[in-house]
């Protein structure tokens, strides 16, 4: 997993609540057996005027000029600003892979759906939940200043704009540690293999029908 320490980048505003993972990456792209290459199809139904598919060349398609990620400078954005319940619906990790592959390193929203939130940490995409009023203020700032850059400091747990501190954010210590160091959490868990085996041995006694 790629490390996340400090990141500065352009903010793209996606001003709608309940953005679901079907919208982030539509189903026809889930037929891939790879975990890369989803970026050009992130938000596909909103991003293009014609329908796409795994065997359709995106270069031959018509981009939707009204969609934020097709507009400069948001096409170079690395921080996505969103509304409530971002990433709801399907568990598809392809949604995180698509955002990552597009170039996003963080998503800021008032709230996230649980599975998307978990998946993000597995891929070095930082989901930051801030108060709705702070998010609202950020939408206003971006609207006044297209190209607004924010700086996210994971170690300090802060979001800043230049020298101005916008907000501090919460994150579980364990997740922060894994993300700062880019740790493979399977390897971490396997360090406790003996404890897992001991649990299994006990469980075989108390609930033998499970084995």
């Amino acid at each position: 997993m790629q490390k996340f320490n400090k990141h500065s980048g352009i903010v793209a505003p996606l001003d709608r609540p309940n953005v679901d993972t079907d919208a982030i990456i539509p189903k026809q792209f889930l037929k891939s057996i790879k975990r890369s290459g989803f970026g050009p199809n992130a938000f596909d139904d909103w991003r293009y005027l014609d329908e796409g598919g795994p065997d359709i060349d995106n270069a031959s398609r018509r981009p939707n000029p009204d969609f934020v990620l097709n507009q400069q400078p948001f096409d170079k954005a690395t921080i996505l600003l969103a509304r409530e319940n971002f990433g709801c619906g399907s568990s598809r990790e392809h949604a995180v892979w698509a955002l990552d592959d597009f170039g996003f390193r963080a998503v800021i929203a008032p709230s996230f759906a649980d599975i998307f939130f978990n998946n993000s940490f597995k891929n070095g995409l930082l989901p930051i939940a801030l108060q709705a009023s702070v998010v609202d203020d950020l939408f206003k700032r971006v609207s006044d200043n297209n190209g607004l850059e924010l700086t996210i400091d994971l170690a300090a747990q802060t979001v800043s704009c230049g020298d101005e501190l916008i907000a501090s954010f919460e994150i579980d210590e364990f997740r922060k540690h894994c993300m700062l160091n880019g740790l493979d959490d399977i390897a971490l868990t396997l360090q406790h293999a003996d404890e897992i085996k001991a649990y299994e041995a006990n469980r075989k006694q108390s609930a033998p029908w499970l084995f």
């Binding site: 079907d22 889930l30 396997l190 897992i196 029908w209």
Partner: protein
Amino acid sequence: MSNRKTLYDKLWDDHVVRTEEDGTALLYIDRHLVHEVTSPQAFEGLRMAGREPWRTGSIVAVPDHNVPTTDRSEGITDPVAKLQVETLDNNCKEFGLTEFDMSDQRQGIVHVIGPEQGATLPGMTVVCGDSHTSTHGAFGALAFGIGTSEVEHVLATQCLMQNKSLNMLVSVDGQVHPGVTAKDIVLAIIGEIGTAGGTGYAIEFGGDAIRALSMEGRMTVCNMAIEAGARAGMVAVDQTTIDYVKGRPYSPTGDNMEKAEAYWSTLHSDDNAKFDKLVHIDAAEIKPQVTWGTSPEMVVDIDSSVPDPEAVSDKVKADGMRKALAYMGLEAGMPISDIAVDKVFIGSCTNSRIEDLREAAAIAHGRQVSDHVKLAMVVPGSGLVKKQAEEEGLDKIFIDAGFEWREPGCSMCLAMNADRLEPGERCASTSNRNFEGRQGQGGRTHLVSPAMAAAAAINGHFTNINELS
């Protein structure tokens, strides 16, 4: 009082292997269900790291999302989908995993076959790379959907790093009126608490109306816990649960069954257990439900009209409603019963079990699908559901009424296979998500119960089933 536990507390505590200082727990997983869409990258990761599955016996795999629901003798024609299904077959062979492949009569939607086989049992932790894994909570199990990285984690370690959720009890008190089904109950719950109302919570569904449900009904309710934002939904174990589980291929027998039953009988929340949030719903108030928008929380009853965003003060919410109305091609104030449908889909992990098909068949019996409906299809949840339905003559009722009778799979719930809506088409669907483009780009989905879907097929527009039956 502090030692009084909720059902969720009990299931959690029984599966904790270890806990980190910040409370993150390593949770043991008893059952791992696998399908073709979210597993290939996990198996590839396992191979690249030189790891083996920790416990192959915990895994049951099945292709369901990509499989055709029409004649399968020619296999899958879409080469990309074919490769994905073959990749699952090959991974299962390579690692020695149980798979019900496309030619197996036990094949079906992963959340239908798990319970059907007895592979889902009370007290288990059940995971799958699919958000509707919450379905299995109907058995008094802790069941939740995971991403592909977590699929790989469970394959490699039999465990997951998890943070405990908060406890929510949704109590549906009293009895529902005739014609009101489990689907209507859960849609009404989502309408009440919102699509993010359960975020951060594990929801236990209780109350007389839930207790009165069959296992099929409880699965429908738990299935849609995720549409209320909760990764896990669950129902306490009772005699209905145990009667359903007994005698299935993976269920315990003999002494083990006696031991298991003794344990399962403890799988309910203790009296006065503490819930972080309590929601009470009056069952008698619930009418047949129809969604009108692009989020499952955008739901009203059949006798209502499409709501007006102008009447909503929250700006973000009102904007969301306007976008939804524009996408759905609806006007505020339009009676729901005036909305005409182009297609009807009866199926999905929410509503494709035998009881669902019986409910729909009872409406279809002796009637004809409206000429205005281009396609009405019934997709059983598994090969075994299909067989049972055919033994009961349900297939004939559907076919005589003008429905198509298909092979099992996820089908038009998410339209990964050929079953889909064309742009602008409107569908009465028994599935779980009315998101934009979910059933095909530009398609418009209205979520309803199986009986309501059958009624929409017959009349060509939404109809209160109590006017038909």
